[in-house]
Amino acid sequence: MEILQSLNISAIGSHLLVGLSRAMILFIVSSGMSLVLGVLRVPNVAHGSLYMIGAFSAFSISNLLGGGSIGFWMALVLSPFVVAIISFIAERSLFCHLYEREHLMLLLFTFGLMLILGDLVKIFWGADYRSIMAPVLLRGSVSIFDSPFPRYNLFLLIVGPVVAILLWLFSNKTKIGKIARAAAVDREMVGAIGINVSWVFAFAFILGCFLAGLGGALVSPTVSITLGMDHDIIMEAFLIVAIGGLGNMWGALVGSLIFGITQSFGVLFLPQFAIVFPYLAVVIVLTWRPKGMLKSVW
């Protein structure tokens, strides 16, 4: 009975919006992972750590600039680049020697990277909970469906599609995007026509990690920034990429929507077991379409 009572339009509407804004964060992170998976064929377990570093460096940058609105915007712009620099170093010093190895080795390698990055974050930032404030413009809430909805979440609902469009433009309209897509399908052929595949890979990897950092910076005002946030996001991103179709950017979007919405409706129906629902959705999707919803590049 209690469940039925809560099932009015406004509750469904606001949960849908919460789910959608969560899905935008998930999309930004998992599209980066999907890009790395598609072009480099690497299941990057360290992706979640880079997301965590994005959030922590957003905290540091905004604190350094006084914690105001300017601090937040600067953090949002700069911290993805911090993450990109870290991933550039990791790629050129370690990763690029391993592309010929089998998937399992690469997966374990990135797992090692995750362990190292996790402890480095602990050394740099400590194990405390951190938080940053959203800028004044995005504080408070607006009334949608007769219930308050945070402005920041609306901002996320705008940023997500913008990132999707930019990614689409990148992969379909720019030369390096087209090369990256070609390398995803047949890397030897791309190498054979005289393109330096190694640098294409490096670029795709750094762009993917950049997106992880962007996701971390974007999520930072809405959650408490802490160790262990890498463990949660990486599993979600992996599963999103799996149900969307490995390496397919639109698949990552579909997967994120499924994940975000089942999560928020899980909270509505059965709060205690809310985290079970997305996993259940993944099981159903993968049983129904073993290769994911959309076409995979693998």
């Binding site: 020697h97 190292i116 599993m235 599963l239 799996a242 205690q272």
Partner: protein, 320 residues
């Protein structure tokens, strides 16, 4: 004849090690007895994973889930029911194997990375249910102070119990490894398409391997409860699954005993380094990356390669 002789000879050190391990608790402090028992449990877990990963070539990404199912089944039967204790010892591995069968049925339809993804999500599903079902499993607090039969509740008692169970399991595993089934499984790992073409039911073999491996993981879970007297959801978190993976890699994928060695190295390193620094995972990560770069066959695999090379060299020398 020569082969038989060679085999008996190669088993000698194993038997010697077993005898040493039998008498060790009499001379070493209690902490080391406990540490050895932990190594045995972890070794059994790593060996069970390697049955599907190293020998079967399957991406069993969430093996710890089954370890957890075994441990939780044991703990719940002992604390929530008044059934006799021996039932828990039998029922827990069976529960694990059932979970393995159920998840396996879904997973064997897929291959490689998709197999791993589906498995990790199904395993996480089990983890999430246990993590959230406070009224039954007390959630992230875990279940503590599980009373065991008096025979195995002391450190030494549990040590001997675990050692005997481990040895029995290892013998069974070795027999499976050398059996026609085991050989077929390794053939499937190396070339699934060809195996399919000569009429082997690849999926069924893989499913049986998963069930056997998860059964042994369940036994490892039972033994974990015997050592620790408690269970908690972290033992079946996916990060731990990858750590078990790492143990297999550290010892050597394609050898029989490698994972055991890997588990021994990992558990003792964790215990010793962990007592000096809180940044143990940093060191773990560095070890893993060094391993992938310089020792991809694992420690055991490396040693066996050296021995083979030397044997080959000496035979060639004699021929000259």
């Amino acid at each position: 004849m020569f082969k038989e002789h060679f085999r008996a000879k190669s088993f000698l050190p194993v038997i010697a090690l077993f005898i040493i391990l039998l008498f060790l608790p009499a001379v070493i402090p209690r902490f080391y007895t406990y540490l050895l028992a932990t190594i045995f449990v972890t070794a059994l877990l790593a060996m069970s994973l390697n049955m599907v990963v190293g020998h079967g070539g399957l991406f069993q990404f969430h093996h710890a889930a089954f370890y957890g199912v075994g441990a939780y089944a044991m703990a719940l039967i002992l604390t929530k029911t008044s059934l006799p204790a021996w039932i828990a010892f039998v029922a827990a591995p069976v529960a694990s194997a059932l979970a393995g069968l159920l998840i396996g049925l879904f997973c064997v339809r897929l291959t490689k990375l998709y197999f791993g993804m589906l498995q990790i999500s199904l395993g996480s599903l089990i983890w999430a249910i246990i993590f959230r079902w406070y009224s039954l499993t007390s959630g992230d607090d875990g279940i503590h102070g599980i009373t065991l039969p008096s025979l195995i509740s002391s450190t030494k008692g549990s040590y001997y119990f675990i050692l005997i169970v481990l040895v029995i399991c290892l013998i069974i595993m070795y027999l499976i490894f050398r059996s026609p089934f085991g050989e077929t499984l390794q053939a499937i790992r190396d070339n699934p398409d060809r195996c399919e073409a000569v009429g082997i039911n690849v999926r069924r073999h893989q499913l049986i391997a998963i069930v056997i491996a998860t059964f042994f993981a369940g036994i490892a879970g039972v033994l974990f409860v015997v050592v620790e007297g408690s269970v908690f959801p972290d033992m079946m978190f996916w990060v731990y699954s990858l750590e078990i993976f790492m143990m297999c890699l550290l010892g050597g994928w394609f050898t029989f005993g490698g994972p055991m060695l890997g588990a021994a190295i990992m558990v003792s390193l964790r215990s010793f380094i962990g007592s000096y620094t809180e940044y143990w995972t940093l060191i773990l990560g560095i070890i893993l990356i060094l391993l992938i770069f310089f020792l991809p066959e694992g420690v055991w695999g490396f040693v066996i390669q050296k021995i083979k090379k030397r044997a080959k060299g000496s035979v060639e020398g004699e021929n000259d």
